[in-house]
């Protein structure tokens, strides 16, 4: 491990993945950065799975269009993934005028689909197995730069015992951290909202999975009715932009 000065880190450009939410992309200076763990939180139907599928396609765009020409793995615990919808998104992306102009060879929708890998996890055990086997998948396809786990809260909450849940979550984080360090990947997790009892018997909307988990992830992006927020807790989240659709 070499020591790097903060100055040379400042000028190192890392490839970002565009999220297609313009205000968020502006705030994050291009999109999601490499080597970090992001979490998407939102109510049911707020668009988390759609955004995850969008990210799978955006990462395949060339460098100047805010992509990295890389591949993605999608771990699905909730059977939310739909290949037909992914194909529709890919076809729409390919016909976008900015993409056609800048990229040298035009990728077709089927080629874009071929670069997204899908692992169907029925239970939490399958998800753990999938993450533990990730190093094998990365050895086979070294160009994978994005791993999406949708949704991690569904898998963890399928265990009844709360202690087992926390331990399992921490083990998953260690595995993810090892992969992050070694291959400089981006992780995107999906989480749910629930009402948590605060002081004076009021209920507030918070993300699930607890405090330990919230401190390990890098950034938490909220997709709510009023707009898109960034922040770890309901009280400390900052408003970024309004969501159009």
């Amino acid at each position: 491990m070499e020591l790097k000065s903060a100055k040379c880190l400042k000028y190192a450009k890392s490839a970002n993945i565009a999220t297609d939410i313009s205000g968020l992309d502006q705030y994050l200076n291009g999109g999601l950065q490499q080597g970090k763990v992001y979490e998407l939180v939102g109510r049911a139907g707020s668009g988390k799975t759609q955004l995850c599928m969008r990210l799978c396609l955006n990462i395949q765009l060339p460098q100047n269009e805010y992509g990295s020409e890389a591949k993605a793995i999608y771990f699905d615990t909730r059977k939310d993934f739909d290949p037909i919808r992914l194909k529709e998104l890919a076809e729409e992306l390919v016909t976008r005028p900015s993409v056609r102009q800048t990229s040298g060879l035009l990728p077709t929708a089927t080629e874009m689909l071929r670069n997204v890998f899908y692992v169907d996890c029925h239970t939490a055990a399958h998800l753990v197995a999938g993450l533990l086997n990730c190093y094998k998948y990365l050895a086979r396809e070294p160009n994978i730069k994005l791993i999406i786990v949708d949704s991690i809260s569904f898998a963890i909450r399928s265990l009844d015992n709360i202690l087992a849940r926390t331990e399992l979550l921490m083990e998953l984080h260690t595995v993810m951290r090892k992969l992050q360090m070694k291959h400089n990947l981006t992780f995107v997790l999906t989480n749910n909202l629930a009402f948590r009892r605060k002081r004076r018997r009021r209920f507030e909307l918070e993300a699930v999975l607890g405090q330990k988990h919230a401190q390990i992830i890098n950034k938490r992006i909220w997709l709510m009715k009023n707009g898109c927020f960034l922040g770890k807790w309901s009280k400390t989240k900052r408003f970024i932009c309004k969501l159009s659709t």
């Binding site: 109510r43 049911a44 139907g45 799975t49 759609q50 799978c56 793995i73 999608y74 909730r78 059977k79 939310d80 993934f81 739909d82 290949p83 037909i84 919808r85 992914l86 194909k87 089927t110 689909l113 071929r114 670069n115 997204v116 890998f117 899908y118 692992v119 169907d120 029925h122 239970t123 939490a124 055990a125 399958h126 753990v128 197995a129 999938g130 533990l132 086997n133 094998k136 998948y137 809260s153 569904f154 909450r157 399928s158 265990l159 009844d160 202690l163 087992a164 331990e167 399992l168 083990e171 749910n192 909202l193 629930a194 009402f195």
Partner: protein, 345 residues
Amino acid sequence: MANFLEQLPKHLQEIAERVNVLTPEAILTTPRIRFMDTRTCDLDSCVHSCTPEDVRILKEAAAKWLEQTPVSADSLFKIPARLKWSRVTFGCAALDQCTGGGVSIRGITEICGNSGVGKSQVLLQLSLSVQLPATLGGLGKGVAFICTEDAFPSRRLLQISKAFEARYPAEKLNFLGNIFIEHQYESEPLLDCISNRLPQLLQEHSIGLIVIDSVAAIFRLYTDFDKRARDMRRMVHALLSYADKYDCAVVCSNQMTATEETGETRMEDVPCLGLQWANLSRTRMRISKVPKQYKQGDQLLTVRKLEIVYSPETPNAFTEFLITAEGVVNVPKPSRPTAIKRKLI
């Protein structure tokens, strides 16, 4: 999984047996600390204690046993995987077009609506249309119908099935013989039925649709919200595991309740059971009555509207339909009044 344990080296087998964790799934989900627990035996007798390295090897062996190669999204369009994303038709063209082909096999579909709006009718029609062969949009399998409020409307089912027989005479299906009905009015017996008796039924007969009408009636009676959340989750996980194993669709119907959203002053109708249930269901459709009426024969029928509240595949579309003696049908287009010829004087 005796084969899994036998292929491991001896000391790993002993570790697993000591903690009584035998299947690879259990090994992956048990926390590390349970394997390394030294509280159960005296320090002197812990001759072969378990090291973290051993646990890591054990878990990696279990992960390798359960390994699934990631498939590219492209290959999900080919035939064996594609069947996982098939749909069950509603039997009504307008509803099929709105929902992108019908009810999806993946995940739980929730149909919510006020009382008397026609949810049970749609469920009855679904339980008939799932028995149609795959070429006509069904699955060619039977139905497990769990009723939690009121008696099952068997006479209405007979009426709709006659209409179906008239529509598809060539199939010669015994529609009523493939529907298995169960009445459960309380939560504990229902959970017991779902965990024990339903898998038996799924093994013996080929079932393509599991219906629970309605989920709200069971869980609304709970006072302890934590227990309610736990029981809901347990039920949903059990249902999803069956749906995955036997390739069947799961449909639940829900009721509506009025609530005051924070920040708004008027009362709004939202589906029951709150955020916990909303996070568990994959597709949500809402049926409501529209202040429009349609005259058929000498009866005035109220038009119903089906709206997709959220779904991973389809945009938020809505469509209108009618409930007649034949079941759920499209709203017929109004016939044009004949042009009245005016004489030019």
